[in-house]
Symmetry: C2
Subunit: 196 residues, 2 copies
Amino acid sequence: MPRVSDEHLAARRQQILDAARVCFSRDGFHATSMQDVIAEAGLSVGAVYRYFKSKQELVMSIAMQVLSSADDVFAEIMSHDPPLPLADAVDRALEFVDRQTEPDGVFRIAIQVWSEALRDPELAAFVRARYTQFRGYYAAIARRAQEVGELPPDADIDAVGAALFGLIPAYALQRILADGPDRKTYAAAVRTLLMR
Amino acid sequence: MPRVSDEHLAARRQQILDAARVCFSRDGFHATSMQDVIAEAGLSVGAVYRYFKSKQELVMSIAMQVLSSADDVFAEIMSHDPPLPLADAVDRALEFVDRQTEPDGVFRIAIQVWSEALRDPELAAFVRARYTQFRGYYAAIARRAQEVGELPPDADIDAVGAALFGLIPAYALQRILADGPDRKTYAAAVRTLLMR
DNA sequence: GTGTCAAGAACGAACATTCGTTTTACACTG
DNA sequence: CAGTGTAAAACGAATGTTCGTTCTTGACAC
C-alpha cells in the first residue's frame, strides 16, 4: 500500500511494537529472533525493517515504552494536596506494581531492561534519567511530609526519597522472583516501619 | 596430560569459571560466546566442554556462585547477640552491596540472573530459594527487634523482613543504574525512616 | 599398550540483515 | 470517469556470519 495515511503508518508501527512486546515478554530480548517478532506481527521481514532499522532499535523503543508506563502513577501520587502520607504514597505505587508484575505486565520487561542497560550506554542513560526522575517524585513527597512534621526537620530528603522509591522495585522483584508477600501485607510492613 | 590429580581437575574447572565470570560480567550472558570464555581461560574448545557440558551449565554455575556470595554477610549479621538494631542490620548488608556493585562485583551478574530466571525454571527455582532464605534472615532480625521492643508486638514479622530485605537490592539497583546516594546517605535515610 | 586429557578442525543450525521483486494506492491525464 | 504512471509499501528468498556443540586426532602418564 503506497501513499498511505499517517494513521496507517502509525498503526503499522504500533502493530510491530505490540508484537515485539509480546515476544520480548514471553521469551526475552535475546531469545526472541526478528523472525519471531515478524511472525507475531503477521508481516514480512521487509515490512518490519522499514519501520525499525535494527533489532536494537526495536528493543530501545520497547524499553522506552515500558519505563515510561509508570509516569501516570507518579503524577497521580504527586497531585495530592495535602500530600499523601508516606506509606500511602508507597501503597499507590504498589498497586501499579501489582498490576504490572502479571505475565503481560511491564516488569518482566523492565528487569530485562536493567540487564541490557549494563551493556548499552544509550539504554543506560535512559534508565538513569527515568529512575532519577522517579526518585525525585519521592523526594518531593518526602519534603512535603517533612513540612507537615511526618519527618524530622534535619532529614536528608533526597536520601529518604531514594529509600522510599527503592521499596517499589524491591517489591516487584520479590513478587516476581521470590514469592514475596502480597501488596497489603507489604504495605502494612512499610507502615509498621514508618510508624512513629 | 593424562592421569591428572584431582587438584588439577578442580583448578581447571575453577579456571574456566573465573574466565566465564570475567566475560559474563563484562559482556553479559548472551553477548558472551563460548569462544570468548575459551579464549579468556586460555584453553581449547575440547577442554572447556570436558568440564561443562553446555553454556547453560556454565551460566547456572556462575549464577549459583553469585547468589551464594552473600551468605557470609547474612550469617555475620545473624550472629550478633544481642541482635543488631534494624538499621544496623541493613547497613551491614549495604557494605556488602557497596563492594559488589563495582565493575567486578557480583551485582552486575546478579541483575542478569534475575533476567535469565524469567525464562529458565531451574534458575528461577534457585533464585527463589535463595532470596526466600535471605528474606528469612531479615525476618529473624525483625523478630528479635520485636522482642526488644524495637517493633510493635502486632507487627507482621515476615512482611517486615521482606520490606527490610528489599532495601538491599533496591540500593544496589540505584547505585548501578540510577546514580543513587552513597551508602552512608542511604543508611541515614533508612535510620530516619525507622526512627521512632 | 591403555586410559585420560587436551586440542582444534569441522558441522549444522540459527541469526540479523540486505536487496531485488511484486503489489498496491493514489495522482494525473484526457 | 476510465486509463495509466509511479513511488511507496510489502514481500521473502538469499547472504554471510556467528553460534554452540561434536568429533577426530594426538600426546603423555602409567
